[in-house]
């Protein structure tokens, strides 16, 4: 199974979870059907023309019905965003296999999960709405609730014990490490350049190679650059995790982010940056580190609020081996690779586990707050939206591309606060994809259907799709795709003793053949050929007679024959071996050789020889051996 991601956009249909009692949210009116029935007004609330589910937010799981997940042997994880559904799979489907991921992926993935669990568990919600999910009821709801897919599959968040159990099933791997799976295939993670420890995977046997390219970046940010060379010679390249915002240039967005931030703060407003606790935030902090002094922001406090803020900042400094060259060089000095260490040391950046506790004492405005969750449905960000939403001095800057910012803001409307959308998505865009495909030249490309046509909102932009030859094979949710190649060979090892016993015969110039009769041993999908064991010698005297009476046990295979028999020479040979009355008759297709005394007839044709004789075994064997002299064995 390739990756195990969680669709969190489902949470956008829910009301935010406020950290402190929010009078505004609690006063929202219940939703009433057109016919006036109010049976859903406890579950659904209306806010500025949108309807939200008033319940613990739920997530959309990967498809679990299509196949029996207990038959999955291995899960390969490409980056920490793509493992968020892991506890659902490893704990509740009978899955008993192994998960493979790099160390940073696991450590940061754990932080993301911890933050998620924490932000949901700290706001216990009595209500769990389920009535609206009834198919008959859902039909009556306004969009987007009406169109939400697989709502019966939506699940509440997992718990920390489940996270720990899931993570304990992960086997850590390093880039370019070759991992044997059951002796049948080898998988290898390669740097994908997108995030700390993010990987593409190569799945190969001795003859076939499938590359799984997911969430890759060619831009120079903090992670190790993408390893493209190793993707060459793929039979199939599965391509997914491209940029969600193909029209935005990440560098430009970072510039816009900084200038909007500076402008707001200079005007005395606060800046809110909804973000994940790891990833782009490192790059943003690095930009700000270079930017704040020149922009005159040295006295503005930067706050990073997350239950895992400290861990995230600390972990980022210890993965030197997974960082880009520049950062690695710093570690050799030895200095921390990320400049946020200095921001923390100089008190410019402060981090807190939550808004409660120390933060409330230190809190000074105007300030910049980085906090989660980017969906604006849970986490400390909800508090700041409520606190700052009413003033037009403040700005919320969206940098994470996973959620539509308009949908994210919907339950906070009407809003006076400025909203700036600077999505920073460093993953491959379509120009980079076509460059990459030209470079690595896979025989076939497989990708999600969306990538094979322009975005629905910009149908004229034919440049915003994958363009390659042969055209990519596309797939949809729950579709089964057969990959276009046929396996023809497998590796087998010939033991040295057996190799020594082989007798090669040159058939054509440069081509030799040897017939091999050997014992095949297969263990862990590795095949070895050994010399056949010597047949046990039958005890000389008594048994001798019985041998012929025994039904032959296993018939040793005889080789195939090829060639043709020159009649004249054959007759000469017969005569040499004591057959004196040889007569030859021509037939339409060849000859018949008659041995009159022995009442034997040998039909010889181009591709066949037929010996017809009385039941005289010594005679038959003699004739057989004479015939075989003229033929080649295979």
């Amino acid at each position: 199974m390739l990756d195990c991601g969680l669709d969190m956009t489902s949470t956008l249909n829910f009301l935010p979870l406020p950290l402190v009692q929010s009078p505004r949210l609690s006063k929202l009116p219940g939703w009433v059907l057109k016919d006036g029935s109010t049976f859903l007004d406890k579950e659904l609330k209306e806010c500025s023309g949108h309807v939200f589910v008033d319940s613990v937010p739920e997530f959309c799981l990967p498809e679990t019905e299509l196949l029996d997940l207990s038959t999955v042997d291995v899960i390969l994880i490409s980056n920490y965003h793509c493992m968020m559904a892991l506890p659902y799979i490893t704990e509740y489907t009978g899955f008993t296999g192994t998960v493979y991921a790099t160390e940073p992926t696991v450590q940061i993935g754990r932080l993301l999960m911890e933050e998620l669990v924490n932000s949901i568990e700290r706001v216990p919600k009595a209500q769990s709405a389920s009535m609206w999910k009834n198919k008959e009821v859902q039909r009556l709801l306004p969009a987007p609730l009406k169109d939400a897919v697989e709502v019966s599959m939506w699940r509440k968040c997992y718990t920390m014990p489940e996270v720990n159990a899931a993570l304990s099933k992960i086997q850590l791997v390093g880039y370019s490490q070759k991992i044997e799976l059951f002796g049948a295939v080898q998988v290898t993670p390669l740097s994908s350049g997108y995030a700390l420890g993010s990987s593409n995977w190569i799945i190969q046997s001795h003859y076939e190679k499938v590359s799984y390219v997911s969430g890759s970046s060619l831009l120079t940010t903090h992670p190790q650059p993408m390893d493209q060379a190793s993707l060459k010679n793929s039979d199939v390249l599965i391509l997914t995790g491209l940029t969600q915002i193909p029209t935005a240039n990440p560098d430009g967005m970072v510039g816009e982010f900084c200038s909007n931030l500076a402008m707001t703060v200079r005007n005395g407003g606060n800046v809110l940056v909804p973000c994940y606790p790891s990833g782009v935030i490192y790059d943003l902090l690095e930009c700000l580190y270079q930017y704040i002094d020149s922009a005159g922001l040295s006295n503005v406090p930067f706050y990073f609020i997350s239950p895992v803020a400290n861990s995230s900042l600390e972990f980022s400094q210890i993965f030197a081996e997974w960082l880009c060259h520049n950062k690695q060089t710093k570690v050799y000095l030895p200095e921390p690779p990320f400049p946020h260490a200095e921001l923390i040391q100089t008190n410019k950046l402060k981090h807190y586990p939550s808004i409660h506790g120390d933060f409330s004492n230190d809190f000074k405005q105007p300030c910049v707050v980085f906090t989660g969750h980017p969906s604006l449905r849970f986490g400390d960000v909800v508090h700041f939206m409520e606190l700052w939403g009413k003033s037009s001095l403040n700005t919320v800057i969206f940098t994470e591309p996973d959620f539509s910012y308009l949908d994210a803001l919907a339950p906070y409307q009407p809003l006076a606060m400025k909203c700036v959308y600077c999505p920073i998505d460093t993953r491959l865009n379509f120009i980079q994809v076509s460059k990459l495909l030209k470079e690595v030249q896979p025989l076939h490309v497989v990708c999600p259907e969306q990538y094979t046509q322009p975005p629905p909102t910009q149908s004229h932009r034919t440049d915003l799709m994958i363009d390659c030859q042969p055209p990519p094979m596309s797939y949809r949710r729950a579709e089964v795709l057969t990959l276009p190649y046929k396996r023809r060979y497998e590796k087998i090892e010939i033991m040295p003793e057996l190799a020594d016993s082989l007798v090669p015969l040159e058939i054509k110039p440069g081509i030799s053949l040897a017939t091999v009769s050997a014992v095949l041993h297969t263990k862990d999908n590795k095949h070895v050929l050994q010399l056949p064991p010597k047949p046990p010698q039958p005890p000389a005297s008594k048994k001798r007679k019985r041998v012929s009476e025994d039904v032959p046990e296993c018939k040793p295979l005889k080789p195939l024959l090829s060639g043709s028999i020159p009649v004249e020479q054959f007759v000469q040979t017969l005569e040499k071996h004591g057959f004196s009355d040889v007569k030859v008759e021509d037939t339409a297709k060849g000859h018949i050789v008659l041995l009159q005394e022995a009442e034997t007839l040998i039909q010889i044709e181009e591709d066949s020889t037929h010996i017809i004789c009385d039941n005289d075994e010594p005679l038959r064997v003699k004739l057989r051996d004479l015939v075989l002299k003229f033929l080649q064995k295979f």
């Binding site: 070759k178 087998i492 057989r624």
Partner: protein, 597 residues
């Protein structure tokens, strides 16, 4: 026959100056490039002229691998690459790459600046040398060229220490460097998978030692330090800046905290702080406990241990000082030793192995009067303690590693000849593999007998494994195929496919034998009797009676005709192909015996 050749240029029946040449399947690899602490002349570096007399080293060597940052494993590297001249790749782990140049620079300073030697490598040479280094991750398969690949395994010992597997085709060598099979306070234990190398080259520093439990040694160490400090004495612990130092610092730090002790602990040299920093940044290379807790409390931020100043050595009162280098052969540790040696209240604790010729080695072997520079005699009255905190595997650990890796041959380096001899016997007895211990300059040749990989057509393999799935799987199954050898490619296919590929037609050889049996009944009755008879005898075969009156046994055809002259005799025509000869011949002899009445 393919062979692997190994020649130690250093560390052959000796500790120090590790440098081992390996030739495997036409590739030449140099393992480590160390210096010898016991010598100050030419002998301190390996004799690289052995590799090639007049050619360039780069042409001869495919790569150089450095196992860890200790100078007896990398001290000759700048000399080798910059002064002798080597431009090929040098592989080491990230922490080794980070720390190695610092120790080299330190070594250069002591040799050139303090001892005034000339014709030694320069700072620039160290920098240029490090530019040739390629850093590797643990378990990463590094493709040196198309055939040669190397892979690093965790070795414990010091930060970043690695064992390396060198592999060409299906032949492989594992070189351990220095390793430790038991986790200590800051590092984990060495680990390798069952990679079954043709040859395992292992260190054997503690070939004959089986160490008591680590806890006991630690308790002993703490007790001795504590007692000395209590009676107002000074404790000198000569260490190398990275490695044991950190382990012992963690030990003392926790002890001081627990016992609430006030005596100062110092750590000499400016390296310390830097060294601790490396440990913080490369925390993923430390043991599990430190890695797990580092966010809450970084074990390498010490509260009780302060930087040492030269003037402190003359301060009255008790103190503990960690000073470099570890074998008391030069530098600050030797200076402090000279100052404190005369007082019996003081103590020096040697926590590691000392190479012959060093002051450390001398006092450990009981010498109490030392001749120092300028004929001065130094009398040692202070207590001398030895405590093995070296992170080398002991005899038990070496045996354990051999069990883990399952090598076909073992070769010992980095140890003393006498002790090696003992271990060699033990290994040969216990594992029934050959064990070698070449001296420096002596070449050991190991013959490998690799099996030959060929491509088998999936059709043939599936046919064979399908047979293998029959109930009696234990019985070996014979498989039959044709090996096609063409332009160095080997393919095993079914004979039919081989014929087809070569454009050859099959020649069918068929036999038909006449068997006469006495049976007065009608033909079809005879046939039925034959059929029933065969069916009864050949239980495991498919025997069929066809509508046209013939019988088949597998692919063998039996037809009956009346004898032209004798009505009481029937002639059975038994017909089979060459491929079914066994069965055909068996059937004729069976039928010849007649039918049961």
């Amino acid at each position: 026959m393919p062979e692997i050749k190994v020649t130690p240029l250093g560390a052959g029946q000796d500790v120090g100056r590790s440098c081992i040449l390996v030739s495997i399947a036409g590739k030449n690899v140099m393992l480590d490039c160390g210096m010898h602490m016991g010598y100050n002349d030419d002998r301190r570096f390996p004799d690289f002229s052995y590799i090639t007399q007049n050619g360039r080293l780069t042409d001869f060597l495919d790569c150089v691998i450095i196992s860890h940052f200790h100078l007896d494993h990398c001290g000759a590297l700048p000399y080798f690459s910059e002064m002798v001249g080597y431009d090929g790749p040098i592989y080491m782990t990230h922490p080794t790459k980070a720390i190695c140049p610092i120790l080299l620079e330190d070594y250069r300073k002591i040799t050139v600046d303090k001892k005034g030697e000339t014709n030694f490598f320069t700072s620039q040479m160290i920098k240029d040398c490090m530019k040739k280094v390629v850093a590797v991750h643990l378990h990463q398969t590094v493709q040196v060229d198309e055939e040669l690949e190397i892979k690093a395994y965790y070795a414990g010992h010091v930060l970043g220490a690695a064992m390396f597997q060198i592999k060409v085709g299906c032949e492989s060598v594992v070189y351990t460097g220095d390793y430790n099979m038991t986790p200590d306070r800051h590092l984990g234990a060495a680990w390798i998978d069952k990679c079954r190398p043709d040859l395992l080259i292992t260190e054997s520093t503690y070939a004959t030692t089986i160490r008591d439990s680590k806890r006991c040694r630690e308790r002993d160490f703490l007790k001795k330090v504590h007692e000395t400090v209590e009676r107002g004495g000074k404790v000198l612990i000569p260490v190398f800046a990275l490695g044991r130092a950190q382990e012992l610092c963690i030990l003392l730090e926790t002890f001081w905290e627990r016992m609430n002790l006030k005596a100062p602990i110092y750590f000499s040299t400016g390296l310390t702080e830097k060294a601790n920093h490396y440990y913080k940044l490369f925390i993923t290379w430390t043991n599990q406990k430190i890695r797990k807790t580092f966010v809450q409390r970084n074990m390498f931020e010490f509260k009780h241990i302060k930087a040492f100043d030269r003037a402190f050595a003359d301060n009255p009162g008790p103190m503990v000082v960690f000073a470099t280098p570890g074998m008391l052969h030069a530098g600050q540790s030797l200076q402090i030793f000279r100052k404190w040696a005369g007082n019996e209240k003081n103590m020096v604790i040697m926590p590691g192995y000392c190479v012959q010729g060093t002051v450390g080695h001398k006092i450990l072997s009981g010498q109490r009067k030392l001749e120092m520079e300028g004929r001065q005699i130094l009398e040692v009255k202070m207590q001398v303690e030895y405590m093995s905190f070296s992170a080398h595997a002991d005899a038990k650990g070496i045996m354990q590693l051999i069990r883990q890796a399952e090598p076909r041959n073992v070769l010992l380096v980095h140890g003393e000849a006498k002790k090696m001899e003992f271990l060699k016997q033990k290994i040969e007895q216990e594992f029934h593999v050959s064990c070698y211990m070449p001296a420096n300059g002596e070449t050991t040749t190991i013959f490998t007998n690799p099996s030959i990989p060929v491509d088998i057509s999936l059709g043939l393999l599936k046919r064979e494994t399908a047979i293998g799935l029959l109930p009696d799987v234990k019985k070996p199954k014979l498989m039959h195929g044709t090996l096609i050898m063409k332009d160095n490619s080997f393919r095993l296919v079914s004979p039919e496919q081989a014929l087809k590929e070569l454009g050859l037609a099959e020649h069918q050889l068929r036999f038909t034998c006449r068997v006469h049996i006495q049976d007065p009944r009608k033909e079809h009755e005879t046939v039925l009797r034959v059929y029933n008879h065969l069916k009864g005898v050949l239980k495991d075969y498919s025997v069929q009676h066809l509508p046209d009156g013939s019988i088949t046994v597998e692919s063998i055809l039996i037809q009956a005709t009346a004898h032209s002259e004798d009505q009481g005799t029937k002639v059975l025509l038994v017909s089979w192909t060459y491929q079914d000869e066994e069965l055909g011949s068996y059937l004729t002899s069976l039928l010849k015996k007649g039918l049961p009445q």
